[in-house]
């Protein structure tokens, strides 16, 4: 994606030598899922209808993890969060926005469960979430911001506290660290050691990875370490931030994988239709999740190589 006009001068010897006992981070989806336990605080990378780790999320739904607290990273989530909410895996959400832009401004399960009092909402905005993630990444006891002053956000979120700062005496908002147990992220490429590359926008994934205890990344492509070392400018998440990598081609479907393929608009519209129908929602879950054996079977189900290739052109 990025054009580099600086020629890379490689050392004459040694650059291809692999550290012999280095542990690979590439694991199966089953092994990756061991990191995600019931009652976890789970953060989701990407945003809106882009770069969500949908393959991992479908497995979480299938394995029926319960009582999750989920954080769709700012500016917000859509079908990713709505699936976990709709099937009952999520008991609470930390969120600034859950919608799918022009496809569905407010996601149906989210809306219904909140209106029926079945889902706990920890109300935040983008700035306060980012502030909390920064505090976690920096190992500070709080982040500070003006976001929230004068609004009702401070009335409904007891974690956000106004204080008079010691420099000027003006009021500011203190945000405690937001430290997810696990962040699940989708990116386009990684080597087996967890050096991850985004081919499009990084969204908030880097900050999210730095703020979280564990980081699981699904990628469309796995490439050899040599390729990472050939152009390390392209690495967007360095390996020390990554716990595990799962190879999941088209793993963001029906969301886009920025730079690799577009979103499946029809599938998202169908999903919204099912989700609005209450009973119909179980039909969606059975068809696309519970009765599906593997990612590859799912990809056939949503149209196979022909449809997926079309999405490349979107």
């Amino acid at each position: 994606m990025k054009l580099r006009n600086m020629p890379l001068e490689l050392p004459e010897t040694g650059w291809l030598i692999m550290e012999r006992k280095r542990e690979q981070k590439l694991v199966s989806i089953d092994d990756a899922l061991l990191h995600i336990e019931n009652d976890s605080f789970l953060a989701i990378g990407g945003f809106m209808i882009h770069n969500h780790p949908m393959g991992i999320i479908r497995e979480i739904v299938k394995e029926n993890r319960r009582n999750l607290k989920i954080l769709p990273t700012p500016p917000g989530g859509s079908i990713d969060a709505d699936l976990l909410i709709g099937c009952g895996c999520a008991a609470s959400v930390v969120a600034s926005y859950i919608g799918a832009e022009w496809l569905e401004p407010i996601m149906p399960n989210y809306r219904r469960k909140v209106e029926e009092g079945e889902l706990e909402v920890l109300e935040y905005d983008e700035h306060t979430i980012i502030c909390g993630l920064r505090a976690s990444a920096e190992k500070l006891p709080c982040g500070i911001t003006r976001a929230g002053l004068g609004t009702d956000l401070l009335k409904v979120n007891p974690h956000l506290k106004i204080f008079n700062n010691p420099v000027t005496g003006e009021p500011l908002v203190a945000v405690p660290p937001i430290e997810p147990d696990v962040a699940i992220i989708h990116a386009q490429r990684s080597d087996p050691y967890g050096n991850v590359q985004h081919a499009g926008s990084v969204f908030m994934d880097l900050l999210l990875a730095a703020a979280s205890k564990k980081v699981i990344v699904s990628v469309d492509e796995v490439v050899p370490l040599e390729l990472t070392r050939h152009d390390p400018f392209k690495t967007t998440l360095p390996c020390h931030l990554v716990t595990a990598v799962v190879h999941m081609p088209y793993g963001a479907h029906p969301c886009s994988s920025h730079g690799f393929y577009g979103y499946d608009e029809q599938h998202i519209r169908d999903y919204v239709g099912f989700a609005k129908r209450g009973d119909g929602y179980q039909e969606y879950l059975s068809k696309y999740i519970y009765n599906v054996g593997s990612l590859y079977q799912y990809l056939e189900l949503v149209g196979g190589i022909r449809r997926l290739s079309e999405l490349k052109a979107c």
């Binding site: 209808i49 905005d125 983008e126 700035h127 976001a147 004068g150 956000l153």
Partner: protein, 259 residues
């Protein structure tokens, strides 16, 4: 609209005219109208205007308009891309203006995108606060664009203040620790354009779109709008504005799609 101009196009043109050369601003996700306004301004009177789409954080994209401002295709044609965390540091504090939409707006331009009814058990759960608490705490001006103008969306008091407007007038913003400079300057709807009276900070009718009666606006506003003695008609789009909008900014006709 009778003359073949879609109301979304008119709203984009009205917003575009108010943007000034050499300023910098932003819009969020799902922002077809504001993005068209910024693109149009750069093609017409404000070639040095800089705009960020804060969702995805790209600068000055010349791509055709898409529904999703986070769509990857917007990035082809941009001049820079940051991640959101960096944008919050390097771009956001330097903005001169931003755009926002809402479910409810009140006479002081306070907006609600979070919940209608009691927050604990809402009648309508909204998508969330988005970035409103953060950007409305900046000392910069904002443009409110509303896809609906009716008494359910223009209310005396918003059920949840997600974003601060002029709060409750007077020095209420300073008391809350917020900068008094800036705040909402224009409200653009399918019916009319509103601004805010200097002394009271309350919303005032500025112009009526072609074919809209004054009574229609009054009836569809759920609070007492300040009505000046002479209410002009919104300046109709020029041929040039329409041509540039349709040829350069929105060749796919995204703005003309919705009823």
């Amino acid at each position: 609209m009778g003359d073949g101009v879609h109301v979304n196009e008119l709203m984009a043109i009205v917003l575009s005219r108010d943007l000034k050369d050499y300023e910098m601003g932003e819009m969020g996700a799902y922002s077809e109208i504001p993005m068209a306004a910024c693109k149009l301004a750069r093609w017409t009177h404000a070639p040095n205007l800089n705009w960020w789409c804060s969702a995805t954080s790209y600068l000055n994209s010349t791509s055709p308009l898409y529904h999703s401002s986070t769509d990857y295709r917007n990035i082809a044609g941009a001049e820079a891309v940051l991640d959101m965390n960096d944008a919050l540091f390097y771009a956001v504090p330097r903005y001169d203006f931003f755009f926002l939409g809402a479910i409810q707006v009140d006479p002081y331009g306070n907006v609600n995108l979070t919940a209608v009814g009691a927050w604990e058990k809402p009648k309508l759960r909204g998508p969330g606060c988005a970035a409103l608490p953060g950007v409305t705490a900046l000392p910069i001006r904002s443009y409110i664009y509303m896809n609906r103008h009716d008494s359910r969306s223009f209310v005396e008091r918003v059920d949840f203040v997600s974003g601060v407007g002029h709060l409750y007038g007077g020095h209420s913003k300073a008391k809350a620790g917020l900068p008094e400079r800036g705040g909402p300057c224009l409200v653009v709807t399918p019916l009319a354009v509103m601004d805010f009276q200097d002394e009271t900070k309350r919303m005032r009718l500025n112009s009526l779109h072609a074919g809209v009666a004054l009574e229609t606006v009054i009836e569809n506003t759920g609070f007492e709008l300040i009505i000046p003695e002479n209410v002009p008609a919104t300046m109709p789009p020029t041929e040039e504005e329409i041509r540039v909008l349709r040829e350069k900014v929105d060749p796919y006709g995204i703005l003309r799609e919705k009823g």
